[in-house]
Symmetry: C2
């Protein structure tokens, strides 16, 4: 039973890949494993931020000595679930120079002319970097399924393609952290109404977002299938209850902390004569 030892938030939020997923059984307002109040969560997230920035520097430093490891955070969720807010508040805790952020929109004609994973491969983090996907290749089994953008057999093949692709990434030193930001239907309505109430948020609003709500059940089903089929041991999905923004930010920052701590990147040792260099500088160079 030693393997079942508690391994932190990653384990608590992990979606088991071996059984079908029923999203309605997950409470979108839960604060699993975290502080139960906003104030404590904000304070804890800020503290976590300092540790994240330190670990990120070590990851980057290690890459300068040939360590090829890197981290990729994948954010998925319904409209208004807080993907952008997570980038702003959680990724904002890191040194921006080591972050490679990509927001995936509807594919361009060029992207459409390639296999669906092509544009994703262009956006991967380099050694020592933290990559962030705001939406991802999962759109190709989500909106693609709901809107019937591809023939069913092709859709069916994509889950396996995604799993093989992600395995190749983890084999190559990528730590994948996949987060589904889970909000409720009512919370989405509340957030859309807030965008309407505030003129400084109108630019985020699209009347099509309301039409899209009619497809809510189909999207939930598509997510259930994607989480079930693609939550693998090496690249599991995490379900983040996301109705409370402060918990969402706390949880994602905590997941990043757990994974970066586990990587334990090290500052490389000097490959030059430190004392000699010091002498040269002190003697006037």
């Amino acid at each position: 039973m030693a393997e079942k030892k508690h391994r932190g938030l990653s384990e608590l939020l992990r979606v088991p890949g071996d059984e079908p997923v029923d999203l309605s059984s997950y409470d979108t307002r839960a604060t699993t494993g975290g502080p139960s109040g906003k104030k404590a969560a904000l304070a804890d997230t800020a503290l976590t931020g300092e540790r994240l920035a330190g670990l990120q520097e070590r990851l980057w430093a290690a890459s300068t000595a040939g360590d090829r490891r890197r981290v990729l955070l994948v954010l998925q969720g319904m409209d208004t679930s807080g993907k952008g807010g997570t980038v702003k508040h959680v990724i904002g805790l890191f040194n921006p120079s080591g972050c490679r952020i990509r927001a995936f929109k509807a594919p361009t004609p060029e992207e459409r002319a390639h296999p669906f994973l092509w544009r994703v491969r262009q956006a991967l983090p380099h050694s020592g970097e933290l990559g962030i996907f705001d939406r991802s290749h999962y759109e190709d089994v989500l909106i693609a399924r709901v809107r019937e953008l591809v023939p069913t057999p092709e859709l069916g093949r994509r889950y396996g393609q995604i799993n093989r692709f992600e395995k190749s990434l983890t084999d190559d030193g990528v730590t994948l952290i996949k987060c589904f930001l889970h909000i409720s239907y009512d919370e989405q309505r509340r957030r859309l109404l807030e965008r309407l109430d505030r003129p400084d948020k109108h630019w985020k609003f699209n009347p099509g977002d309301i039409d899209e709500r009619e497809l809510w059940p189909a999207y939930q089903e598509a997510y259930e299938l994607a989480l079930h089929r693609c939550s693998t041991p090496r690249a599991p999905w995490h379900l983040i209850p996301a109705d409370r923004k402060w918990y969402r930010n706390w949880a994602v920052s905590r997941l990043l902390l757990e994974h970066l701590t586990a990587l334990d990147p090290q500052y490389p040792k000097a490959d030059f004569d430190v004392a000699e260099c010091r002498q040269r500088l002190l003697k006037g160079a």
Copy 2:
């Protein structure tokens, strides 16, 4: 004389392009126009950060309605002058999703096969973004001059090419903010020694950095020439006294604030019927 009205820090730090530049006449420890102490500077920079993030969001929002304006911060300076530290501390004040950061290293074989501005064009900010260049096309008249990497006539042509290129950018809606981080020869020694004293900084050190110090006068001369020939009315150079990190961060954040404030980006007005959308949502959608 109305034109000579004081226009803030940008004007105080601007390098006049109409006369030769003598870098030795600029005090690298100056705190021009800023708080004279570290504590006040840090507090002021943090406050500036909140305003910067707000202006950045407006710039991004405006781009969603077709506003093509964008900002490009160019950072140049000798080794250890704090280009990376500026990105960490100043650009860290922004929402990372709207920042496009590029650190230019020695050109790759592919980059070398193209005109020197080619790789720079690939890295430009898109509409609504803040672009950041850690080093830039100016390396092609700095190290290229000092190390005699190109024939003299070609080098001579590059200043004009840079000016025309930058004019085309400003014509196209790019606000260019060019900053030369000016440190002293002694301050560089101090910073290199600090890197040697701290094992967690060894990875930043390269013994070649000491050899490079022998070329200090040649680099200063190359900078003087670049600042003189390429400080144009539309794309002026700013000289940032950079021996004090807290002043450097204060000054660069302030320059960004002045330029973003002048742009005065606006949230776009709703192009849909707000009341109707609200009704649809309230009636159950």
